[in-house]
Symmetry: C2
Subunit: 244 residues, 2 copies
């Protein structure tokens, strides 16, 4: 890990790293730029504390500074970057208090979602999708990044099944805060089988129309997913927001 960290030296890494990646060739609008940068930040390709020059980004995306600025403004709202006027824009360091807020919000909303799903039931398509995703999770137990993707889709399926797809958008915004930590902890994550078993328990409770059981299952799942984060964060002090 230390070698990898060393590779991410500050200077012209952003351009180098993107050299091989596929970036849409055509003109990029602020939405596309926002999405690309968001992904780069969450996946730690842009490291916490790293400087983001509007000029450099404009050159990288082949536009002027205006679309870049507008994308950065959205990233500010996402809590992913900080702008110090006349000084520079920087990838936000991982803030423990932000993570705690994200954790709280996600737990509250996901519990409310599965409760409603259990109370009102979900359409058959949702059940089929959830079961398919469970199988896929078992398949890709050795590909943490793919598993993470399936994990997200599984959770989102309940929101959509309960008619609360738009609530998932809020969770997704908050989730970015500790997704960065998740990328740090992919090797040391909780055993996949445990997570799949928890997923199965959530699905069973929802299908059994048992809100209390669904809440309990989701609550313990959240505790499992999130507990890794805090001590892992402490092992990477350079990425953590200094105490205020």
């Amino acid at each position: 890990m230390g070698q990898i960290l060393a590779m991410y030296a500050y200077s012209r890494t952003a351009a180098d790293r993107d050299a091989g990646r596929d970036e849409p060739a055509g003109p990029l609008d602020r939405r596309a730029i926002h999405e690309i940068l968001r992904r780069d930040i969450v996946a730690l390709r842009l490291r916490p504390g790293e400087k983001l020059s509007e000029n450099e980004l404009a050159a990288r995306f082949g536009t002027s500074r205006a679309p870049v600025r507008e994308a950065l403004i959205r990233l500010i709202e996402d809590g992913l970057i900080e702008v110090l006027p006349q000084r520079g824009s920087f990838v936000g360091r991982i803030s423990l208090s932000d993570m705690e807020r994200a954790r709280f919000v996600r737990e509250a909303l996901e519990i409310a979602i599965v409760r409603r799903a259990a109370e009102r039931g979900v359409p058959p398509g949702t059940q089929a999708l959830a079961e398919a995703l469970l199988l896929e999770q078992a398949e890709c137990r050795d590909d943490p990044e793919r598993f993470t993707l399936c994990d997200d889709r599984f959770h989102r399926a309940f929101a959509e099944g309960a008619g609360l797809a738009s609530v998932w958008a809020i969770i997704e915004r908050e989730k970015a805060q500790f997704d960065r930590v998740r990328y740090l902890s992919l090797p040391a994550a909780t055993p996949v089988d445990v997570l799949i078993a928890q997923h199965r328990a959530i699905l069973s409770a929802v299908l059994a129309r048992d809100p209390a059981a669904a809440e309990a299952a989701m609550r313990s799942h959240m505790a499992e997913v999130l507990k890794v984060a805090s001590d892992l964060a402490l092992r990477h002090p350079d990425l953590i927001q200094a105490d205020l």
Copy 2:
């Protein structure tokens, strides 16, 4: 030519309405512009569907279009305006599905907040503040706008007391969706005494360290606060988003 301008019935209304209002004289940055517009939209001084020309706004605020655009982008994220490229920016109509999402999110988060407050207790300052706000609410029972303000501060007090002030920021963003309806319904709102009694019940449950009671009290309070909205919205079809 003059006729064309005259047909833009809304073109001068915004300026007219603001004629008497106090607007900071100095140069406004994107944050100030965003806040002013946000308040205008929530208070229905800018009506749903009304056109917002970047040029007009720039003239109104005495800046160029750049800060205005950046403020509008934040308002897009707040779900308060819609931008149709090359056509115009418009104050978003009140969307029933957005209101439902906001209702769901607020309920889930506020319940989680008071549960935690009841579980872990709140500092004495919070208790004093909440009690003071209860008295103030009783005082200004005849001033709906002031009461609304006290109402918000009462709810926020619990979030801050539970160490979750940042969660309140999320609630506040969502709240904007049905705050506009609240401005419509101020005359026909729920009797103030009922609301104050519910507030008192919430505070009592929290102070008694009874999470279940706190949740129940908050849940019924939310139901009360939010039930007016939907039928009231139907009485103002011009302000409502047409069904998709």
